[in-house]
């Protein structure tokens, strides 16, 4: 395999929301939604971001695109001709780069304006990036609707006339309009029925091949990630606990949280009766995370060290695969 170019370098990214209470709105603590993330995204790959609700996956996606400004850290973007730190840009400077970095939102019902036709919603990005003639805009939108397997004349209809799967495809078409390099798919298939979900997944894979795209695929569904992603990062309480090639993550799971997550998924296969690890309790509050390893109160393998020391996120030592990272004390024990 050829060495892939790194398109995004995320360094120590932090996003802490202040919690204000009382009459004087004094800051009483921080919700550490994204807490020191280091991640490289390679050109042309599909990176899966998985975790339970509240683990910060969506916030990470949005802070990469500067839709929510991170409080600390850098997002270095290697564009075609220049290298910029997105976190250091002003909003105006950022808008020039938004052309290359797009997002598909989770809920196709609330992300399209019900008062506009599809053409009305989709023409805005084109106007902004310099397509002056309305005829030209209609041509581009029409071509894209066809690219996502919809009919050209659908652009004069309103969002309520479409089913969920069609609306999600319109959302994908909107992200593609300005010919981006990277698309963040935030739970893009979670709201869809399985038969429609398969159509959209196939579409995403086709588009990647045709248009040389890179995806960050945020989801809570591990069987979908295994199917579509090249690499998977598992998040827990604002931190990445394990990062590996998709196949390696399933075959050679290192972190106990990933293990529990994988064992909890019901599989539509009667021959595989799983030895399920049922985690006790809920995800702890990110405002007041446990000391040491954030996962230790629910971990079935926790040792004394886990309560006091935060494990380092590093290349796993007990196998030769250099691409497998994990943050767990148990890996040092053997």
């Amino acid at each position: 395999m050829t060495v892939q170019k790194t398109i995004l370098e995320i360094r120590d990214l932090e996003l802490h929301f202040p919690v204000r209470q009382g009459v004087f709105k004094k800051v009483r603590g921080h919700v550490k939604a994204v807490d020191g993330i280091n991640l490289d995204i390679l050109k042309g790959e599909i990176l899966g971001l998985v975790g339970e609700s509240g683990c910060g996956k969506t916030t990470l996606g949005k802070s990469i695109l500067q839709l929510i400004r991170p409080t600390n850290g850098n997002v270095i973007y290697n564009a075609k001709d220049e290298t910029v730190d997105l976190c250091a840009l002003s909003d105006a400077e950022m808008s020039a780069h938004r052309k290359n970095l797009q997002i598909v939102f989770q809920d196709p019902h609330s992300s399209l304006n019900p008062a506009f036709t599809i053409y009305g919603s989709l023409q805005d990005p084109l106007k902004k990036y310099g397509v002056k003639s309305a005829k030209e805009r209609r041509r581009i939108i029409g071509d894209l609707l066809e690219a996502v397997n919809l009919r050209r004349d659908y652009m004069d209809r309103y969002p309520h006339e479409f089913s969920g799967g069609q609306r999600q495809r319109i959302g994908i078409a909107r992200a593609l309009l300005v010919d981006p390099e990277l698309i963040v798919c935030d739970e893009a298939v979670s709201a869809l029925d399985v038969s429609i979900q398969a159509q959209v997944l196939q579409l995403l894979l086709d588009l990647r091949a045709k248009r040389d795209l890179t995806y960050i695929f945020i989801t809570h569904d591990l069987s979908v990630t295994e199917y579509i992603c090249d690499r998977i990062a598992v998040m827990y309480l604002g931190k990445i606990v394990e990062l590996a090639d998709a196949e390696d993550l399933y075959k050679n799971t290192l972190h106990p949280y990933t293990e529990a997550l994988l064992s909890a998924i019901p599989v539509a296969d009667l021959d595989r009766k799983s030895n399920r690890i049922v985690l006790e309790g809920d995800v702890p509050s990110p405002m007041n995370p446990p000391t040491g390893c954030p996962f230790h109160p629910r971990c079935h393998k926790a040792i004394a060290k886990c309560k006091t020391h935060i494990p380092e996120f590093k290349i796993s030592v007990n196998n030769d695969d250099v691409n497998h990272y994990a943050a767990c004390h148990l890996l040092d024990e053997t």
Binding site: S223, E247, L261, A264, L270
Partner: protein, 331 residues
Amino acid sequence: MTSDIALSVKDLKTYFYTNNRCNKAINGVSFDIRRGKTLCIVGESGCGKSVTASTIMQLLPTLSRIEAGSITYHAERGDIRIDQLARNGAEIRKIRGAEIAMIFQDPMTALNPVYTIGFQIEESLKYHTDLSLKEIKKKAIDLLRDMGIPMPEKRVDEYPHQFSGGMRQRAMIAMAMSCNPKILIADEPTTALDVTIQAQIFKLMDKLKAEHDTAIMLITHDMGVVAELADEVAVMYMGNIVEAGSVDDVLRSPKHPYTRALLDSIPVLGQGKKQAIKAIKGATPDPYERPNGCSFAPRCDFATKECDVMPDEEYISKSHRIMCANYKAVS
């Protein structure tokens, strides 16, 4: 064999009437729920799974009607025809909550935000049992403890917004189980929850089934859940049960093209990228403009002329039935 059947539904038809149009939401559905067994109803959104549940519970909206068919509840004191009881009459209210209980999909909208969790659990105990208020309170705490909620003595006086999603769902189950119902209807109980919490809820439901011999009807769209929990499966499409049988029948040797397509369209964990997932072409038809014959025919790869008339239900083995004109061609 009839003794272990808790509830039987025969040729049930429920229609909705809006704007002079008729939506045949359930169009002739038959199944049995057995004691100590789980029946899973699977299907995509809009196929009539939830309407089936609300028909059994008599929770249908006013603009709908049970058009034909019967729902028979086999109680210890004799058979009761639920479809013939007066809507919200004394009899159905006696059964509902006490003998047939329901868990709803979204615990945030199903719980009343202005009453404490304890009050909402105690409510059905007050109505259905002769226990004193003190005993009722104790029972509510015990129920919460059984559901694995920490510090139930304190939690019982808290409001729904103070509970997390998984805990709310467990409180809902506690409410449903408060009077030891004979039948539990769970309408997508874990769809809104994370897989780790879902695993906790399933463990709980299995325990209830084993301890109280409860008959469970579980509505889901997730084939994985079916493989995990079901004893029997019914696959619904556009208001019909297109295939039904034991979990072995349906998952190991699916005969209906829809069941097969559904199973082919989901990525299975542990098979990596090599698996070929096949999308089902098109989308579910408009419920007001149903195809004349088999409702799956427009999306079916095996459709022939015979599919223009509604196929009959056919038993291909003692437990396995199917609604397809040319299922032989499929296998």
